[in-house]
């Protein structure tokens, strides 16, 4: 028990985020709670990080979801399309660990 935990931690310490998906095109109307609720159907959600821009008060349209199990991750990845409140989310396996990268907010008119 302890041993496997140790290994797990070693992996985390080495910067390898396991079971994490990167979600983009999150509509502005939903917040952490809603996103988390949505992804719960695929497995237990350990973490949901939806960064808000403190300058604007809007979130940046993307988030990271961490599942407790590989299965949750796979379930989420297999589902297509992901629709939340009528908007289609883009879900992909997270490649880079979270770092505070900025999004360029595009003003789109039509």
């Amino acid at each position: 028990m302890l041993h496997s935990q140790g290994l797990n931690m070693a992996a985390t310490a080495a910067g390898k985020k396991v079971f994490e998906v990167f979600v983009s095109k999150v509509p502005w109307t939903v917040a952490t709670k809603e996103v988390k609720e949505y992804f719960r159907q695929f497995g237990q959600v350990k973490k949901c990080l939806l960064p808000f821009d403190k300058e604007t008060g809007f979130h940046r349209g993307f988030c990271w979801i961490g599942f407790t199990t590989e299965e949750g991750l796979q379930n989420a990845l297999q589902k297509d399309p992901h629709i939340i409140e009528g908007a289609r989310l883009q879900v992909q396996k997270n490649r880079k660990p979270f770092s505070g990268r900025k999004s360029n907010k595009e003003a789109e008119d039509n």
Binding site: A10, T29, E34, G57, F58, G86, D109, N110
Partner: protein, 1303 residues
Amino acid sequence: MAALLRSARLLKCSPALLLQVTGNTRHAPAAGRLYSGAVGTPHVGLCVQQRGLVKDEPSVAVRSKQAQQFDWALAKLDSSVRRTGRVTKTLLLHIFHDICRTGYPSGNQALLMLRSCGSLLPEVPLVERIELSQRIWDKLQELGATYDVSHYNALLKTYLQNEFRFSPTDFLAKMEAANVQPNRVTYQRLIAAYCEVGDIEGASTILGFMKSKDLPITEAVFNSLATGHARARDMDSAEGILSVMKGAGIEPGPDTYLSLLNVYAEKGDFAKMKQTLEMVENADIHLMDRDLMQVVFSLTKAGHQQYVPEIVERMHHERGYVPDAMNLCLSLITHGHEETAFSVLKSFTGLLVQSQTSDSPDLGNFFLRHCVNMDKSVENIVRFCKDLKDSGLHSSPLQFTLQCSLEAKKTGMAVELMRRMKEEGVPLRPHYFWPLFTHYQKEKNISGTLQALRAMQELGVASDMDTFSIYILPSFPSVDSARTSLKEAGIDVDANILIAAELRAEASRGNLAGLFSLKPLLKSPLHLLLQITELLCKDPRFNSTEPETSENVAYFLYNLIDSMNETEVHSKEEQLREYFGLLKNMNISISLNIFRGIRNILESYQVPELVKEIACFHVVKYGGCWSVTSHHSKPVVSICVSMCVVELCLSHQKLERALELKILYEADMTPAAYAMLINLCCRHDNAEEALKLKMELARKDSEVALDAQKYVALVRVLSKHGKLEEAIDMLKEMKEKDVQLRDGTISLLTLTMNTAAMKGDANSIRRLQEAIFTLGLAKPSSNLCSPLITCYLESGNYAGAFDATVEVHKQYNQMPKIHDLICGLVEKGDAELLQNVVEFLSQERGEMMMLYDLYFAFLQTGRYKEARKIIETPGLRARPTRLQWFAEKCIAAQQMEPLENMVDMTVKLFECDRDDMYHCLLRLCKETNDWQKAEATWMKMQEENLAPRERTLRLLADILKNNDKEVPFEVPEAYDMLKEAGSTGMVLGPAPYDTLIKALLAKGNIEDAMAVKNIATDHVPEFSLSDNANSLLIVSQVKRCQMKDALGTLKGMLQADQVPSQLAITRLVQGLASEGNTQDIQEVEALVKTLGSIKLSSMLFVNNAALAHIKNEDIDSAVELLQSFYIQNTDNQKSSISFVFRKVLDANNDAALDKLSAMVERLCNHFASYRAATDLFLMYLDTGRTEEAKFLLQVLCCILLPVQAAKIKALSELIPDFTEKENIYSHLVKCCGLDKDFSSAKALYERMQAEGVKADELTLKRLALLYKEAGEPVPFEEPPESFSFYADKLKKQRSESMEPADC
């Protein structure tokens, strides 16, 4: 009046021709709209001006920079207009501020700005547009832009488009005062202005002016008059314009009918409108959709919107209809006709659907957004939303509108919209209010915050903890005042949420101390404790992988336990146990030290249950953990192997050796080592091996990408060796891995294809070209396309070359090597093919360009008679870029004869800039140092009565001086001239001063530069140095070690909202470092941080701060700084401190070097941070300190490889003269001991003996132990004393042996 008009017939100018001109503008592509409306728009840059010696004009450099900026701004505006047919106010203001900030605006920029202030801004109310154009006009003039007639005409156009009422006579007076002559366009627009208000008399006066100046009366004038008569309520005359025009020999065009249609529309006379539309059809005139939209606009403005649908039905939905219709909607909304706008919107939603890309419909966003921006009533907006939703055009219009109103910070509207949403049953969420709170928070507007909170409460949205901690509390000076205010405002808050939010607010300020001061709170119920811990875990600030911050949670725990006394712990044991249990599920990890601390406390309180509980936490050991498992030693081996490979590749170019090493240690090869090897293979022209390695690398790690240069080198070597498919695969891989090509690498691609061209392998070139372009690795360019043509030209296959030219032009729209092709044909005398080429060129690039091509070919081949015939073709005019191109070619190839001939032949060429021509000729004279030719040129210039520019005179003087010849004229020194200008009372604009100051600063002449600045300030009171000049000043000041002044200049710049150049900051920081001024470095760092946009090396401040410490002989601080830099952030592994090493090595600063290398070892040893080691190693190699490099490698091996004996052994073999073998062997034996690897140890011992390496006692002791453990007899006498005895002895020996060296 009629008589006046009829006389138009007598004008010399053919009206048909003019009509053609106006017709052209109307059908010009979207980009042309920026310049539309003005017949005879001056062609910027083509006019030749004979300039005097001193004129208010910027230097070439400034002009070229301005040209670049102009291009950039133009491109931005152009793309906006092309895509949408409009410009946003934000974009326009952005460009305007940029122009203002970067110094002195050019005339072109001013023109561009002014032209964008009219109907290209449909979203902006007229009043605002007028203000904007006026502001731009005044500001740019103040900044020194010179206005000519084109500017005044542009201003007039915005007046007309913005329905601005002004006095035309005043306008003329203004122009006269500025000494600018009005032209035909000016008069036309003034007539239009009179007609707008129905002032026919005024219009007639202007017409009189035009007539007296013999200016042609064009269709535009008649169109205006039609409007004018109508506005003067004289419809008969308005309608009569058609016959008057015919009488004057001018055919009415679409614009004439459009004027009439608009006139009827204003009257609401739909019968006449229909009649006119029929007339238009019968006259075979095509009214464009955009014209009809104007009619719609007129109808609506005059209150006759009931006819709008009938006009809308007549639209053809031409290309570009959608953006035009959108602009119509926007204009209508801006003018307060959103209802009509909505009906127009609904008429073309069908067209919008086609461009819909997302799954859920969201049509009409632009409409809703503009309604919000224009503060339309919520009533109306909600109705539009409902309509859009009910007709399936938009899935969530209310939410979108709410988003717009939140973005626009319109609280009232947002709240009202939310109320409607609630009524509709749409859920409301706390974060909908956050944009409002951020807004109030920034303004510290407490009443606004409370108001929004109250609205929240009224709408039944529960404010959660995030809302409080991030968005509400920071607006208040303290939590207490927040609590009071909330209470007073009658806002109910859950007390627990408030406390938690408070904690969170403290935590997010990174204020752990503050957090602990709230400790009493921690003795509150369990769920609060949990909430707090969870906060700490979830907040990305505390939950990163960085050891330092992730420890916060652990510290919190520790402090929690520490703050409780024994009785408390006992009384809450159950609670704490539960708490720990819950924490465990949250995957909390704590470091070993803290775990021990907590455990010790708990043990001392004798609560074994809790100790057990806490032992189940994930305990992480930070640092040093690499040695615990074999997994961690992996990077260590890799770095050693890689270093060796790198060394072999870099310094010895020993491919074979490197390959051998690679084979032995394949498993430990890092991608970087592979990349080096591959590149080395490419350099050795070994395609097979390179490809093999590349495939191997891909097998190991398919994600990894080489850099662009290495990929291209690979492509080159592969294609050179006939591996075309593989080469193309590499190109594809580059695309897949998103490898960006720079200019340098792109030219390598050209080179690759040229190699194929020399072999006549057209097929390969085609394939490569196709791959490069279709993959989008590089845009088709003349250079990239030229190898294919070269391929045919080289073999003398001109027909093939021509076919290839046609092909390349068709496919990639490039026409490379055309000059070479024509030259070849001219020399060969192949008239038939030449005819084909000429026809092709005329067709594709126009006759003018073709003539130039032919002209240059004749010049190049020495057929000057033919060349002259060509250049004297009637109607041919100067194309400065083309002339310049040929001149540059001649200068580069030092071909005087064709250049001289060109200069002679172009004397009478229309609009040819003679000074430019002579300047080129003199440049070649300078290259060849031919003073006689230069002198002859000077004579010719006098013959031509040419006043050369300053630069030309200077060049001539240079050539003469270099040959000890007398300079027969005075060379003006800019500085002297300026002083002279000042004394004669000549007034200059700011631009020449700035240029001169920059020139002086570039020479490091601060005194003169400041003197000029003073002169400038005397003459132009608001004069200040531009960004560039100030940046140069900083550089000069640093050069002179005037650091205080330099820092002052920087501060001044930042205050004036100027942006210093990257170079200036770098030099300043380096200068401060060389003075050991760490404090100012910090200050600069803080100052520059506020700039944000500037690109600086991320290491600039770290490296220079370290150097400053070293300069102060405070090496420990430097070490501390660098060490903590690498330890604190694992991302920093990418950042190099080579600069520090380089400086220290250059200064031969041994003391610093010692401590730094100790740091390097420490970083490797304790923190698994290898970047500094790599930097130092490479810097040793770079500076030729091979010995030190080897030593470092050896030390690293020893430190890092306790369990990797075999590998060190092999490494030591591969690096042939590895010194101090004893040392290595003793370490190897130690490794074997740790590995309990007896057989290796035995082999080692035998080898040591064979090589005659003497083993020290400690090593013998170790070996003996191994032999004994393996049950084998010890083949030597085991040293009698203990391990520690010999270890101490060895240590002592070593330190003694070091001492003599130190003396």
